[in-house]
């Protein structure tokens, strides 16, 4: 497994290769599926257009919480390997923010693992988003839909794909 909190951009292709390589080392021939997710900065919210965001984190705790989440997902879905990268600092529209990848023997576990990590990340990893429009900046509020998506994992259910 691997996690990173970083200011710089990442290459989804390189991260996919890293995950593929880790999964192959751990359980050669047993990995049948790799699912990856890349989150981008949207150019607006329900109130209108934005010009970008700034992500604040809690150095130390953020890395620790993300690592715990990946370990939890690995155990819960019997993943062969998993990884997550989250950017912090100033980001602009269409920039990559987050990458999650899961490798598993079968596709369902890999899809569910990636959904679980994203849903729980939005609830349990110390990261805070601020949106910019001109000189104005506004902290993003927690969404009820995100809380609902995380709570769904407390009960057997399908993957909440509509919460990006």
């Amino acid at each position: 497994m691997f996690v990173s909190i970083q200011e710089g951009d990442f290459s989804p292709h390189d991260l996919h290769q890293q995950l593929y390589s880790l999964a192959s080392q751990k359980n050669a021939g047993n990995t049948g599926a790799i699912v990856t997710f890349t989150g981008l900065v949207r150019d607006g919210n329900p109130s209108g257009k934005i010009e970008g965001i700034e992500l604040e984190h809690y150095p130390g705790m953020t890395e620790k919480a993300l690592k715990l989440l990946i370990q939890d997902a690995t155990q819960r879905f019997s993943l062969n390997s998993a990884g997550a990268v989250h950017r912090v600092g100033r980001l602009y529209n269409n920039d990559q923010i987050v990458w999650v990848g899961c490798a598993a023997p079968h596709r369902r576990a890999a899809f569910d693992g990636a959904c679980f990590i994203m849903d729980m990340l939005k609830q349990s990893v110390p990261l805070w988003k601020k949106e910019f429009v001109g000189d104005e900046s506004t902290w993003v509020e927690t969404k009820v839909s995100d809380e609902y998506a995380a709570m769904k994992w407390m009960h057997p259910s399908s993957c909440a794909l509509d919460n990006g």
Binding site: G39, G60, M61, H86, K130, W139, T142
Partner: protein, 82 residues
């Protein structure tokens, strides 16, 4: 005993303080620490008024958690990453 206070996001902006060394009584709880900070200034009172999560040594904790010497106690709003 001395502890370190840290704040993030809105809690940092409203309190006007990102890090602070604070003297508290032995066996103080996180709730006691909040009370102590709220009495420091109106900014702290506003920052800790509601909807704030607490962590002790980088792990989420409850208000009745007892703090120890050199602990790092952090206050921040619900998270919005991803």
């Amino acid at each position: 005993m001395q502890i370190t206070i840290k704040t993030f996001a809105q809690t940092r902006e409203v309190s006007g303080c990102s890090s602070l060394a604070l003297d508290v009584d032995n066996k103080s709880t996180v709730a006691d620490v909040i009370m102590h900070l709220k009495q420091r200034s109106q900014n702290w009172a506003n920052a800790l008024e509601s909807n704030v999560l607490t962590a002790r040594n980088q792990t989420l904790c409850s208000l009745d958690t007892v703090v120890s010497e050199n602990d790092e106690i952090a206050f921040f709003p619900p998270v919005t990453g991803g």
